[in-house]
Symmetry: C2
Subunit: 182 residues, 2 copies
Amino acid sequence: MRADAKRNYDRIVEVARMAFRERGYDTSLDQIAKDAGVGPGTLYRHFPTRDDLIDAVMKAWVDHVEETTDKALTHEGGPREVLLNWFEEYVRLISVHKGGPAKITGAMGDEASPIRSKCQVLQSAGGRVLDRLREEDAVRDDVTPLEVARLVGGIAAVADQSGLEPAAVRPMLEVVADGLMK
Amino acid sequence: MRADAKRNYDRIVEVARMAFRERGYDTSLDQIAKDAGVGPGTLYRHFPTRDDLIDAVMKAWVDHVEETTDKALTHEGGPREVLLNWFEEYVRLISVHKGGPAKITGAMGDEASPIRSKCQVLQSAGGRVLDRLREEDAVRDDVTPLEVARLVGGIAAVADQSGLEPAAVRPMLEVVADGLMK
DNA sequence: CGACAATACGGAGACTATCTCCGTTTAGCA
DNA sequence: TGCTAAACGGAGATAGTCTCCGTATTGTCG
């Protein structure tokens, strides 16, 4: 990749990150190009579709998911607390951008989605937490990680769209957690 | 209202109903106007915003909600079955149009939403079911009808966006139901 | 019945966003 | 330094939203 290409690529991703965070995933791409100081052609060459740009913005975020999961696994307290803590972290993780929860949860299980790899990272992260709790025989085992991701993702999507405070989300996560406990 | 105005109004609503069902709430309004045989001006005079049109389309649907709730209340079986049955009906009710679950659940608790009255109908319907189950002391009482609506609505939104079969939705509803039982 | 005022109609067009094409510019190598 | 492949970016095609306003229709009243 040529130096000027990389420069522009990085600038676009950086501008897009801010734009998505502040204005949501449906913000104007031409505006992002303008803010990044490039023409729309440049943006669309690097990122043929909106999802390709979203995917690029999420690259750095993946490391953060791994790290957060590790922390959640060492969380003190009983199984219910570990699960709830993970749920809260999960909601926070997928809510970094406006529209993120709906986007990510909607793409889950979709083989063809450009952000598929990100969803898999999340899903396996959740799987690790569930496995750990199942070792303790604390969580029912007729529910898949995908279903759990959808349950919590659904709550996050609603919270995101309705602009709910974390305190308002908590009771709903508790219902799901209780429903999952043995 | 003049006779010709009513004629056009009704045609627009009818065409919109089909369009929303088939192509989702983000389908072109100009196209709906064209299909209804009117100019865009006519559509936008009757329905200044997209939500106003959605609201009109939902008018008839309200009766259906009441009716469905009555049936759910007389459902045979234990409390868990009654609750699950209601959840499934609820999901079906808000999924009549593509994008409906997200739209309706997102508007819940929003005082200014044009479809606010529809949400309240749904919420009070859910409240009736919960009240009935609480009489039997079957359901925990630290959860509000609004929270339950958001939990189930979140699942419906995810299912709608991912195109899930009812059979795939059921286990998730079970988790929420179990989490709500005492 | 005929005329008129109020009401409704609908299309042209302004505005905004998406996305492409292609002539121009530039980086990096020989 | 000069060449070529790569990258740039803006003009413009396409499509959706929404408004304005001249035209047409309705229904009433004399």
